[in-house]
């Protein structure tokens, strides 16, 4: 595990996970890496086709960097226990993402840990199969 410059962004390397073709191509993200960010929720939008979270992550200069986290549709989040009010602006969160390949502060969602320790993930888009139950 390698600590990045900010101290609050950790990078791990993982195996490739098969991408899902949603609103946009998932090839923008490096599925072999995971980045963990710790910060404060700026906004959480519960919507189709993508739910998203914007997180203010403290940087080394005393300021913040706005990270964009892309999630799947509420259709699938609900199946993983999410609600539209699961998180809100001002919440402290730790989010794991597969980062965008070109280094901008953006990534696709892997998991989220709330301040109370609960961990939230997504369910795979496998409707009509046993995995989706």
């Amino acid at each position: 595990m390698r600590k990045s410059v900010s101290g609050l962004v950790w990078v791990l390397v993982f195996l490739v996970i098969a991408p899902a073709f949603a609103h946009h191509s998932p090839a923008a993200f490096d599925r072999t890496k995971r980045v963990t960010i710790e910060g404060t929720v700026k906004e959480f939008r519960w919507q189709n086709p993508h739910t998203w979270i914007e997180v203010n992550v403290p940087d080394e200069k005393g300021g913040t960097v706005l990270w964009g986290v892309e999630l799947t549709s509420p259709t699938y989040l609900i199946r993983a226990g999410w609600k539209s009010n699961t998180i809100k602006a001002g919440d402290k969160v730790t989010v794991v993402v597969n980062p965008v390949r070109t280094g901008e502060p953006a990534g696709i969602f892997v998991s989220l840990t709330l301040a109370d320790g609960r961990v939230l993930t997504e369910r795979p888009a496998r409707l009509g199969t046993p995995e989706s139950k």
């Binding site: 991408p19 609103h23 090839a27 086709p49 964009g68 390949r101 070109t102 409707l127 009509g128 199969t129």
Partner: protein, 267 residues
């Protein structure tokens, strides 16, 4: 009586009036084409027809298990030089970890066949005269007409991303012939493979597994972009615990999906 001084002016006025009358007849519209009955017209719905072999009303989701995953077909036809340029660019971008021409991500319609393989189900409603398909993505509408009509006159058709679909029954198979696709630089059949206005898709749809799945055998031709037929068969599973919702590609969607404005994209 017209005074001599006024005669040239009057003659001019007469000439102009005559010219306008002649021009008006030249501008007269051709008779409007005969309108065909809507698939939802009661008279059309009530017409006696053989019972359909099956009813595919329901929600259907692409079976993305196995090595096909989300792609339409991993076996590509021989591409034309024009299409090969795009495919090579797609592969080059992928080799650099970049994304080539993600037009769907910019809210361009996916079109058929890609619209059938998105991360949301397709709701299908079958009537004797048509099958209405509404995708969970962008609520894209596709209508397969079953009432015996022909494809629209090429001089009248409005070309679209989903094309114009006419279906008929052959035994236990619904055969759908889709043509009249839009000719757009934003129109793709698969990653790096464009689709032109010459694209034509034949789908042979069967209901299998005791009504729990649809098997669709595709035969696609597009002489602008590849040689011969591009075939493949995919499966869609029935989904009974979901309903299609409103899914719009809003103008500000990508403002909050930072990856869409990143340098990873090759436009």
């Amino acid at each position: 009586m017209i005074r001599p001084a006024v005669r040239p002016l009057a003659a001019s006025l007469v000439f102009v009036a005559g010219a306008l009358a002649g021009a008006g007849s030249a501008w007269a519209q051709e008779p409007a084409p005969e309108r065909r009955l809507s698939a939802l017209a009661p008279v059309n719905l009530a017409e006696a027809r053989p019972a359909a072999p099956f009813n595919l009303t329901g929600n259907w989701f692409i079976d993305n298990r196995g090595n096909q995953g989300w792609l339409f077909n991993r076996t590509y036809p021989t591409l034309t030089p024009a299409a090969q340029v795009h495919f090579d660019a797609f592969q080059a971008a992928a080799a650099e970890g970049k994304v080539y021409r993600d037009d769907i991500g910019q809210c361009w319609p996916p079109g058929v066949p890609i619209i059938m393989t998105r991360v949301w189900p397709v709701a299908m409603i079958q009537l004797p005269t048509a099958v209405y398909m509404i995708s969970g993505f962008m609520n894209s509408l596709r209508t397969v007409f079953l009432d015996g009509r022909s494809h629209t006159d090429p001089d009248l058709v409005v070309r679209t991303f989903n094309g114009e679909s006419i279906g008929h029954w052959e035994g236990d198979t619904l055969v759908v012939d889709t043509r009249n696709f839009i000719d757009s630089e934003h129109r793709w059949v698969d990653q790096g493979v464009p689709g032109s206005g010459e694209l034509r898709i034949i789908e042979r749809i069967r209901m299998i597994d005791d009504g729990q799945a649809l098997e669709i055998a595709y035969t696609m031709t597009d002489p602008v972009n590849w040689v011969g037929e591009w075939t493949g068969t995919r499966r869609w599973n029935r989904v009974d615990d979901i309903d299609i919702e409103e899914v719009e590609c809003l103008p500000d969607l990508n403002d909050h999906l930072q990856s869409m404005s990143s340098k990873v994209h090759v436009r």
